[in-house]
């Protein structure tokens, strides 16, 4: 079984996040605003190596760019 999203380099969670975002956006106006608040994240993260904190980055951006770079290696 090959999933289209898997070969595009997405993880299952990312796939779910995108799917749920689509569902939320297609809701009616009043429900949509309440639902979209459940989909918001505002996290930052930093990698640590040898006891030193690295640069702090936005998590969502880093995830999407990381997956985009995975896409090339996964599909080949």
């Amino acid at each position: 079984m090959v999933f289209a999203w898997k070969s595009a380099g997405l993880s299952y969670n990312r796939y779910l996040a995108i799917a749920s975002r689509v569902v939320r956006r297609s809701l009616k106006e009043d429900k949509r605003i309440a639902a979209e608040r459940r989909g918001e994240t505002d996290l930052r993260f930093a990698k640590w190596s040898n006891g030193k904190q690295g640069e702090s980055k936005n998590l969502v951006d880093a995830n999407s760019s990381g997956m985009a770079s995975n896409a090339g290696s996964a599909s080949s």
Partner: protein, 300 residues
């Protein structure tokens, strides 16, 4: 006998010592009066702030608890599979476990964060496990002692009730880690009741552990789907841990602020009495001065 005889003398000596001091900084009594007033004002302001924070936390608490109950269902549902399959973490390998510590960014909530940090320091030796820390508070606490073991840290949690999207994004980043771990353990504060909570661990299993569990074949799941399931289960467990940790934090903050307001109230009472007494003393002193002055000038 001697002691009783000596007492008046002692008292006189003490009074003699005290009187010059009081007269010497007669001007200072006004200053201390003003000092007490300033102190009183600042304590009142602090009480106002802590009271407001308590009210805010109380209103947030119901929402946080509702989110926690819902999130517990998420976690319980995904753990149901592992219970039925009797999945156990793999042991006896040289791989390290990964600990995820769920705290948050904000303080002023009693020992919620330091409880987690203390658990980590007590139970995990250096080099035995890697740490992923969620939340600024635990990051700064563990960054001092366990910084060699840390691989990732997340910030920006705890402003609001954690969303599932938060948990998913964190799970994604953890899945992308290069090192292979024997299993993932999520450390969070378990909500026992409104005043007590304790650090607890949820297991999130590795793919091998899921595949090796004795009753797993009963589910008839394809091998290929296991990584997906594992990622999703990790997000579920993380969401559970984050939501429960958040509820604990809010209720701990409510209690802490309740205590702080109570203490501030006590201090205000004490300082109010001291203030009144000092003011009275100053007035009496002034009266005595005026009367003695008047009698002295009347005699002449």
């Amino acid at each position: 006998m001697f002691s009783r005889a000596a007492r008046p003398a002692l008292r006189a000596g003490a009074a003699a010592a005290a009187i010059p001091a009081r007269t010497a900084n007669n001007a200072a009594t006004y200053a201390t009066l003003r000092e007490i007033e300033g102190r009183l004002k600042s304590i009142r302001n602090i009480e106002k702030i802590t009271k407001t924070m308590k009210i805010v936390a109380s209103t947030k608490l119901t929402r946080a608890q509702r989110a926690m109950n819902e999130a517990q269902n998420y976690g319980a549902a995904s753990n149901e599979v592992y219970d039925a399959a009797e999945t156990k973490p793999l042991e006896g390998e040289e791989k390290k476990p990964l600990y995820i510590i769920c705290s948050s960014d904000k303080g002023l909530c009693g020992g919620v964060h330091s409880g987690l940090s203390r658990w980590v320091r007590r139970n995990i030796n250096h080099g035995e496990a890697d740490l992923v820390v969620i939340g600024e508070k635990a990051r700064s606490q563990l960054g001092r002692t366990n910084n060699q073991d840390m691989v990732l840290s997340f910030a920006g949690v705890g402003k609001d009730v954690p969303t599932f999207a938060d948990a998913q994004a964190i799970a994604d980043q953890i899945v992308q880690l290069q090192t292979q771990y024997s299993g993932i353990k999520i450390l969070y504060n378990k909500f026992i009741n409104a005043t007590s909570y304790e650090p607890t661990v949820i297991e999130a299993f590795s793919e091998e552990a899921i595949a090796a569990s004795p009753n797993f074949s009963a589910f008839e799941v394809d091998e290929e789907l296991i990584p997906n399931m594992r990622e999703y289960a990790l997000a579920n467990s993380l969401y559970w841990a984050l939501a429960e940790g958040h509820a604990c934090e809010i209720s701990a903050r409510r209690n802490a602020m309740d205590n702080a307001s109570k203490n501030a109230g006590e201090m205000i009472n004490k300082y109010q009495i001291l203030f009144n007494r000092t003011r009275q003393a100053v007035i009496t002193g002034e009266l005595v001065e005026i009367i003695t002055g008047a009698t002295a000038s009347a005699d002449m």
